[in-house]
């Protein structure tokens, strides 16, 4: 098991390096540091000296991949790619192009993001699983048929509609919750209620359909017929056998959501003005702050890889037949 974990971690390194290379190419080769400086400092009137100063402050004055003038190892290490990559790998995110410390910003904004993402994930899972189990149990009934219609309709509605419609109906007309904003502590619940509701609704339709297919596939297996033949109750068959065995595909789908848990639903956060990581990233995109976007890409892919690893580990818990070698 530990050998397996070690191998997986080692395997993650080249992938992260590749991710970094791609973002690096996107940011520094397509767009030279001079262009960045010009964009950050304002207009074309900016002097060459100011650009040089801006570059030196951020260490962008080094060559990109190969430092020909330096001697020995420094030829490869005293470069922009090497230093920026090393910094990210040691979780030293440095300062944003706007001058703020990225690490502190991340810590501050993680809370609100998690406060939305965790309840959404939990509620989503519970509601979708319960609905799908009910559908699988009552398959072929009128309820099943109408649920299919509702699910396809829900899938076809743009997520923006839920957000805008929810804000208009619940916040503006009924005045149950504030339209947007955020507050610390318990007061946050009032601000979070609507985003969480919207977050659950947005992907409910497709999830219910997907879980239902998984359950139906399991219910066609012979062990289910055997369990019924033994005289087990429907509830026991559904919960103890079908649900348990359907866990593997379900877990695979859930863990993929891990990066979004951290990054927050980008669009939801922006619409509800919640100061989480999602709105942080969008602000950075709109302000063209490359340092922040690069950090977020790195963290996002790190979490994705971590998620894949967790998926494998969760298989062991969900299915005793799985062994990690």
């Amino acid at each position: 098991m530990s050998a397996y974990l070690l191998r997986r971690v080692l395997y993650a390194l080249p992938i992260l390096l590749g991710v970094n290379l791609i973002t690096f190419l996107l940011f520094f080769v397509v767009n030279t540091p001079d262009d960045m400086a010009r964009m950050q400092l304002g207009d074309r009137r900016v002097t060459q000296a100011a650009i040089e100063k801006w570059k030196v402050e951020r260490g962008y004055d080094r060559p990109l991949f190969w430092h020909a003038d330096a001697g020995g190892v420094a030829r490869a290490t005293d470069t922009l790619f090497f230093t920026s990559t090393l910094q990210l790998f040691s979780f030293d995110f440095g300062k944003s192009d706007g001058g703020r410390d990225i690490g502190t910003d991340l810590k501050q904004r993680m809370g609100p993001s998690l406060a939305i993402a965790v309840p959404v994930l939990m509620l989503q899972l519970v509601v979708a699983l319960a609905w799908a189990l009910l559908l699988a149990w009552l398959r072929g009934s009128r309820f099943d048929a109408w649920s299919a219609v509702i699910c396809v309709a829900m899938m076809s509605i743009s997520g923006l509609f839920y957000i805008i419609g929810g804000q208009y109906l619940i916040a503006k007309l009924w005045r149950l919750v504030p339209i947007s904003g955020y507050d610390g502590g318990l007061a946050a619940v009032r601000f979070l209620a609507l985003p969480v509701l919207v977050g659950v609704l947005i992907s409910l339709g497709s999830n219910v359909r997907w879980y239902r297919t998984v359950f139906l596939e399991e219910m066609g297996r012979e062990y289910v017929r055997m369990a019924r033949a033994k005289g087990l109750s429907d509830a026991r068959v559904m919960f103890a056998h079908v649900l348990r065995n359907a866990l593997i595909p379900i877990l695979t789908g859930v863990v993929v959501l891990l990066p979004s848990l951290f990054l927050g639903a980008l669009i939801t956060e922006a619409f509800f003005a919640i100061p989480g990581l999602g709105s942080y990233t969008i602000d950075a995109i709109q302000a063209q702050d490359f340092a922040i976007v690069r950090t977020m890409v790195f963290l996002g892919s790190l979490l994705y890889i971590l998620g894949l690893l967790l998926t494998d580990l969760s298989y062991v818990i969900a299915d005793p037949r799985v062994r990690l070698e």
Binding site: I15, G18, I22, F27, V30, S156, S158, Y168, T281, V297
Partner: protein, 474 residues
């Protein structure tokens, strides 16, 4: 009308249409290609959905035939066939917001009347209801009369179409027309005619109502600068469909070549391809798109001289968006194709080909490629609706299509703050949302049928084994 011009995306769309036509001709001649489609056309839901999709497609194609307008005509630099057909909608703009079907403006304006007194009234619109002498009295009756006339002509068109179909069935089956009509109504004519004719008639009625009202009113109102919302929504169809189709088209060659090669050759090629797609897919898609869009913006500002024409600039931006979306989405298809190729390489006909000394490239082309096409087909139709929805979301965070381009995302983005007005300006949102909903719903329903028909795993058990009764009618 000026000279015919071909924007890059137009060329792509026409190329795609050509491929589709070639495929249809191929499919007609080969039974194994026809069988799954016959399965699709047996389903009423799929047939109904394809009627709607066809209508959207028609709008998109009409909007892709572009003409460069003559200098000094006062129009934009490029016009499409759709623009020319919808001339009254395009030119009949107001000064600002107006509600759907309104005859009066949305907000009060100060007007000096004949006696020289300054009063604040709701002024008449320039185009909406301009033909009415006294809107207060005639407005409702006029709208109802025109709508009824439009609906009646739509119904008439639907009935005419139905009669033609009945006659065609009667002729082919050698029955009397009445017997054929009875067969059709009972849903026992071998093809879901009821669904085809029902959806077509409903569509014709809606089009009839809009066509009857549009020259005299703004059916969906006007936006902030007074442009007709119905016209914008129709123009956005092309953007949505292009994003849905071109993205897959762009990602297809990569996914096919790399996926099949990785699965067939295994070894170092497989490792390299796996590394590539794991790396790409581990970058959060939105961020990759955002980063690439950012770079494109910078590039375009630096090379502003190369993009003098507004339409060409927006067009290139759309193409770039498709390319970026394609790069982020090809990985999942590549993974599926690799798995399928791994399976196929062990099957006897491939082993036999190898033993006979057939070259690898020939094996890949002749034996593997045709056998993974069903996966490509399924992915293309399944991805379509997600991509249409993604456009709206991406445009909202400013990394989608060009702001000057008509798209549902831009319509929503421009109108979302206007709900806070009193009274709320809801019509832009409603129009964009309902057009998007219609297209995506049709695409989802169609995709379901295609998946069930093409997926051999599902086919084994009988395609509609776990479909609810509602979608299985007839």
């Amino acid at each position: 009308m000026g000279e015919f011009t071909l924007l890059t995306t137009d060329a792509c769309l026409f190329a795609l249409l050509a491929v589709a036509i070639v495929y249809c001709l191929q499919a007609r001649r080969h039974e194994h290609l026809r069988a799954p489609w016959r399965e699709v056309w047996r389903r009423p839901v799929a047939v109904g959905a394809s009627v709607v999709l066809g209508a959207f497609m028609l709008v998109a194609v009409a909007d892709s035939i572009h003409f460069e307008s003559r200098a000094g005509s006062g129009d934009g630099d490029v016009l499409s066939a759709l623009d020319i057909a919808l001339r009254p909608l395009r030119t009949g703009s107001e000064t600002t917001y107006s509600a759907p079907l309104a005859a009066y403006a949305y907000s009060r304006e100060s007007v000096v009347d004949e006696s020289g007194k300054l009063t604040r009234i709701y002024p008449r619109l320039v185009h909406g209801g301009a033909h009415l002498a006294d809107p207060g009295r005639e407005h409702g009756a006029d709208v109802a009369r025109r709508a009824a006339a439009g609906a009646a002509s739509g119904l008439l068109g639907g009935l005419a179409l139905s009669t033609l179909c009945v006659l065609a069935v009667a002729r082919r089956r050698n029955r009397a027309p009445v017997a054929a009509a009875r067969l059709l109504l009972a849903g026992r004519a071998g093809f879901p005619w009821r669904s085809l004719l029902g959806v077509s008639t409903a569509l014709l009625i809606v089009i009839g109502i809009c066509a009857a009202l549009a020259p005299h009113y703004h059916v969906f109102g006007t936006d902030k600068v007074g442009n007709d919302v119905l016209y914008q929504a129709l123009k956005s169809v092309r953007t949505g469909i292009l994003i849905g189709l071109l993205t897959t088209l762009i990602s297809l060659p990569f996914a096919l070549a790399l996926g099949i090669a990785a699965g067939y050759f295994r070894g170092p090629i497989d490792d390299a391809v796996q590394y590539l797609y794991t790396t790409l897919s581990s970058i959060p898609g939105v961020l990759l798109i955002a980063a690439a869009a950012l770079m494109l913006d910078v590039y375009m500002t630096r090379h502003a001289a190369d993009f003098d024409m507004l339409a060409a600039r927006a067009d290139l931006r759309l193409l770039a968006l498709c390319a970026i979306l394609g790069i982020t989405s090809w990985t999942s298809l590549c993974r599926l194709l690799r798995a399928e190729a791994l399976k196929l390489r062990e099957i006897e006909f491939v082993v036999a080909a190898q033993a006979l000394g057939v070259r690898s490239t020939t094996i890949l082309r002749r034996h593997l490629l045709p056998n993974v096409m069903h996966i490509v087909m399924i992915t293309t139709v399944l991805d379509f609706s997600g991509l249409v929805l993604a456009e709206a979301a991406l445009t909202y965070i400013d990394i989608g299509v060009d702001p000057s381009m008509d798209s549902w995302g831009n319509m929503i983005n421009g109108a979302r703050l206007e709900l806070a007005r009193e009274p709320a300006v809801w019509w832009s949102l409603a129009a964009a949302m309902s057009f998007m909903f219609a297209l995506v719903l049709a695409a989802n329903l169609f995709a379901d049928a295609v998946r069930d028909a093409f997926d051999p795993r599902l086919r084994q058990f009988g395609a509609d084994r776990d479909l609810p009764a509602a979608t299985r009618e007839s």
